[in-house]
Symmetry: D2
Subunit: 284 residues, 4 copies
C-alpha cells in the first residue's frame, strides 16, 4: 500500500497555474508520482490531479490545508486533498440482481478497490448469504409504495452509522429521494443498463430489443435529481445481432454492467474524477 | 466473379420449411454455397438466405419463378430471387462532406462493392472533381427552401434515367419527401452520425459533446418517413475522453460514418438484409 | 428448461446434404428451432448444427441413432447427437488465482451455464471456502516436480468418479500430461492470458509489457499436446496505454480472461462448437 | 491554424522537474494549452509534452534554445522544440495496394494531417493517377533483386531533394536497407497487417487464417533494423468468424490498416510520440 497524497484542483484557467502548484509541492519535498492536467479552452477552465509520495513531504494535512489555502484563494481554485492511506467507506445498495454486488465484493477482496465496505443495504433479503460469505454486515430495508420517505430516512441513518462516504447502486431498482441525492452529491454512483442517453428510464433492454439496435450498452454515472441524467463516468457496448433474443441481451448486458460500474467505482476511489457542468474529467 | 443465385425468404414459421426449400433446390441441381436461417420464435417467423452456384442448376430465372411460386404460395412465403451476375445500380447522394463519397468510390473501384455507380447527385457542385476522377456522371440538383418538391422530382427523374436500384445518402443533408421515400422503400440507405436512437435529428456531435458521453457512434439505416427511425443495419462506436473537443468528435466520427455506411451498402448489395417490423436480419 | 435435441454434423460437401437432413427430421415431426450451416468451400467441407423441439418428435435416442446412421453413412458424415435435458458434467481446475473460478460458479448459479459442476480440483487449498459457499465438492491434489504423473492419475480417477465430461482450466497453472489430454480430446478448455499466438508460454503479461503493445488480450482454446496451440474458441482484447504498468495489465487482463473463458464454456455446453483441422466453427 | 510551440522532454525522474519547466515557461509569458507528463516509476524516467500559445511568449526559437539549454543540462534532459506553424514534410512510399495512400491523401486534403506532402515514391507506376489527382509529385523508383542498394540511394536522394522529415510506408512491400533506416531513425512509420508480435513477416493474413484466430489486427510502428520489431505506435483489431474466408480477412484488414496508420501519422505530426527503449509514449 503506497502512502501518497492526491490533490484535485479546478479553477479558471490562467497563466502560471502549473508553476504555482508545482513550485509549492517542490518546496515542501513532494516526490510527484503522477500529474495530469486538462484545460477546457472553450470555457477557460483548468483541471489538475497530482499525486505524490509522502515519504519526504514536510507538511501534515492540517498544515497543508492552511498553507495551500493562500495559493488557492489567490488563483480562485476549488480543491480537494485526499490521502491514499485513508480509504473511503463504500456502501453497496442492491435489489434482486446480484451480479454487480458479487463482482464488487470479489474485486474488493482481491484488492482492486481501495476502500472499506462497512455495509450492504437491500430492499430484499436475498443478498444476505453473499454478504455473510464476504463478511459484510447486511441490512434489509424494505421499500414499498407507502414507506418510501421512511425507508430513505432509515437508509441515511445507516449511512451515518457506518460512516459511509460513497454509495454504489449495484442494480438497486428504487429511485432515491431528492434530499438523499443532495446530501450525497457526487458520491452516489449508479449503473444504468443502456447506452445513455438512449433508453433511459425503465426496461432499457426491452426498448433496445424493440428498436433493433446492433450494439447494447451500459452506463455508470453520478446520481442527480434528474433520473438517468447525471454526469457520465463510463460507458461500454457489446455487439448483438438478430440472433440475440431479449434474454441474450440481458445476459450480455450483465457483463457490461459489471465492467462499467466497477471501473467507475475504482476511478472514484482513486480520486480520478472531477465533475464540471454535467460532465466528468476522468484522469487516467 | 462468381455466377450464383440468391434466394431470400420470409414467412410464418412451420415444420418442413427447410426440407421443402432444400429439396426443391436439390432436385434442380443447385450446389449450395451458403445457407443461413433465422427464426424469431416469439413472433413465429422464419427467414432464410440461400446462395447456390448456377453451374449445374437446370432452371432459368423465368422457370424458377414459375415453379417456385407454387411452393411459396403453399407455405405463405414472401421471397426474392437475385443473381450475382446482375449487380445493382447505386446512386450516391452527397452534400458538402465528401468523406463517405470518396470512401464508397474507392471501395467500388477495388471491387469491394458489387454494383454499378451510374450517377452522383448533389445539392452542391463541390464533388464534381471527385466524380470526374472516378469517371462517374455528376448531376448538380440545388435544393432550396422553395424548390424542395421540384428538386425531388428532378432527382427521381434522374434515378429513372440512370436505372437506379439503390440510393445511398452519403452525408446528404436534405430530408427526402415522403413520395420519394415510399417509391424507394428499403432501397435508400442513410448514415446518421450518432448511436441511434441517441441524438437523432440535427447536430448530433454537439449534442453528444454537451451530454458528456464516453463513446460516440454512427448508424446506417434504411430511410423511412420518420426521420432517423428506419430499420438499423449497422452501428459502431469509438471511445472518446474529456480531452476530445467537438472537432475531435467530428474527426473520429468521420471514420465511424465511413465504416458503418460502407458495411451497410455491401450487405445490401450482397442481398444479405431482410427487414421485418422495423428491424433487420443481416445474414453474415 | 427447454426439451430439445441438437445434431452436429461435419462431412465432405456435396449436393443434397441439407435436403437429406431436413427431410429426415421433417418426416419424424421435428420442429426446428435453430439451424446453421457452414461450408468451407476451399476444403470442400460441410458443417451443420440443428436444434429441434422434441415435443412432436417421434424418435427416441436409440432409434434416432439407428435410423440416422444409414443417412450418415451414405453421406460420409461425422455426427453427434445431444439432448439439452442431459446437461454435461463440468470439473473446474484452478490454482491460486480464483477470478475465473468465482466467475464460472456465479454464472452457473444464475443459470448462464447449462451444466452440473460436480467437483473443483486444485493444486492449492485456497479455493476451499469458495467451493463450500457454492456447495461444490473440493478436492486438493498437490502437484510437485516429482509427483506429476501420480497427480495426473489421481485427477483422472476423480474425473471418472465424478462422471466428468468437460474439464475447464480456470487459470490452472500446471501442464497436463499427454495421456490426460488425449483422453479428454476437445473436452479440455483452457484460458491463456494473451492474444495467441502472441506471447504463448509463461508470463505473457510481462512479455506484452516489455514489447510495448497497445492492446492486451486473452484466448480460450481446447487443450492439445502442443502448449497454447489448440483450436482457438474465443479471443478478446482491451486497450492499454503507456500509463498502464504491469499490475494494470494483470488487472485488466483478469476481466478479459473471465469473459473469454466463460463464453467458450457456454458455447461448448450448448454444443455450438465444431473442430476441424486446428480451427473451430462456433455456431452462434 | 494555431500558432503554438511544443516542447518534448525525457529525462531521469527527480524532484522539481515540473516546477522548473513550468516556471521557465511562466516567466517568459507562455499561455499553456496542453501539458501531459508520464513517469515510468520502475525505470525512474520522466516524460513531458507541453504546448503553449506563442501570442505573449517573449522568446524566439534561437533564444529559447539558448536559455532552455541551461535548465536542460542541469536536469539531464533530452528535449525537442517544435512549432505548429512549421509543419513537417511527409513522403509516402507505396507499392501496389493503394488504400492507405488514398486514405492519407484524403485526410491531408481535408486538414486532418498537419504536414506537407511533397512527394510519393513507389516501386510501381500504378499510383500515378491518384498522385496527379491530389497534385502530388510522383516518382517511380523500380526495385529489383539486383538494384536494391541503388534504389535506396535514389530514394534517399529524393528525400533530400524534397526536404522530407517523415517517411510513411503505406503498404510499401520492400525492406529498407540499414543505412536508410538509421538515417531516418524514428522518422519512418510502417503499417504491418497483423497484431504484432503475432504473425510478423510475410503473409500475415494467411497465417492468421491458418491459425484460426478470432480477431485480426494491424499495427503501426517506427521502423528499426529488426523487421516488424520497432516501437509500436498504435494497434487495433476486428472480430472475424469461421464464415470469413481469406479474402474477407484481407478486406476487413484494409480498414484496420488505414485506421492504425493514419492515427500514428497524425500523432507523429502533432509531436505526441516519445520513444524510449523499444516502446512509445503517446500523449493524447
Amino acid at each position: 500500500m503506497r502512502n501518497t497524497a492526491i490533490l484535485l484542483i479546478s479553477c479558471p484557467d490562467r497563466k502560471g497555474l502549473v508553476a504555482a502548484i508545482a513550485d509549492f509541492l517542490y518546496r515542501h519535498g513532494a516526490n510527484i508520482l503522477h500529474a495530469d492536467q486538462h484545460q477546457d479552452n472553450e470555457q477557460g477552465l483548468f483541471f489538475m490531479r497530482v499525486e505524490w509520495d509522502l515519504a519526504d513531504f514536510d507538511l501534515d494535512a492540517g498544515t497543508f490545508r492552511e498553507r495551500f489555502r493562500r495559493v488557492a484563494e489567490r488563483l480562485e481554485m476549488a480543491w480537494r486533498l485526499e490521502y491514499s492511506a485513508e480509504p473511503a467507506s463504500m456502501a453497496i445498495f442492491v435489489s434482486r440482481y446480484q451480479h454487480c454486488l458479487v463482482d464488487l465484493l470479489y474485486r474488493h477482496r482481491i484488492g482492486e478497490l481501495a476502500c472499506r465496505v462497512p455495509v450492504i443495504i437491500s430492499n430484499h433479503p436475498d443478498a444476505q448469504p453473499v454478504a455473510d460469505f464476504y463478511g459484510v454486515p447486511f441490512r434489509h430495508v424494505p421499500v414499498t409504495g407507502e414507506n418510501k420517505a421512511a425507508a430513505a430516512r432509515c437508509q441515511m441513518e445507516l449511512l451515518e452509522e457506518y460512516g459511509v462516504d460513497l454509495v454504489v447502486l449495484a442494480r438497486y431498482m428504487q429511485v432515491l429521494p431528492a434530499d438523499f441525492v443532495s446530501r450525497y452529491r457526487q458520491r452516489i454512483i449508479n449503473v444504468h443498463h443502456s447506452f445513455l442517453p438512449a433508453f433511459s428510464g425503465a426496461r432499457p433492454y426491452q426498448a433496445a430489443f424493440q428498436r433493433g439496435v446492433k450494439l447494447i450498452g451500459a452506463t455508470s454515472h453520478y446520481v442527480t435529481e434528474a433520473l438517468d441524467d447525471g454526469p457520465i463516468i463510463e460507458q461500454d457496448v457489446r455487439r448483438i445481432s438478430h440472433r440475440d433474443q431479449l434474454e441474450d441481451l440481458v445476459q450480455k448486458g450483465r457483463d457490461l454492467e459489471r465492467m462499467v460500474l466497477s471501473r467507475a467505482v475504482r476511478w472514484h476511489l482513486e480520486h480520478r474524477i472531477l465533475c464540471y457542468g454535467n460532465k466528468t474529467v476522468v484522469f487516467d
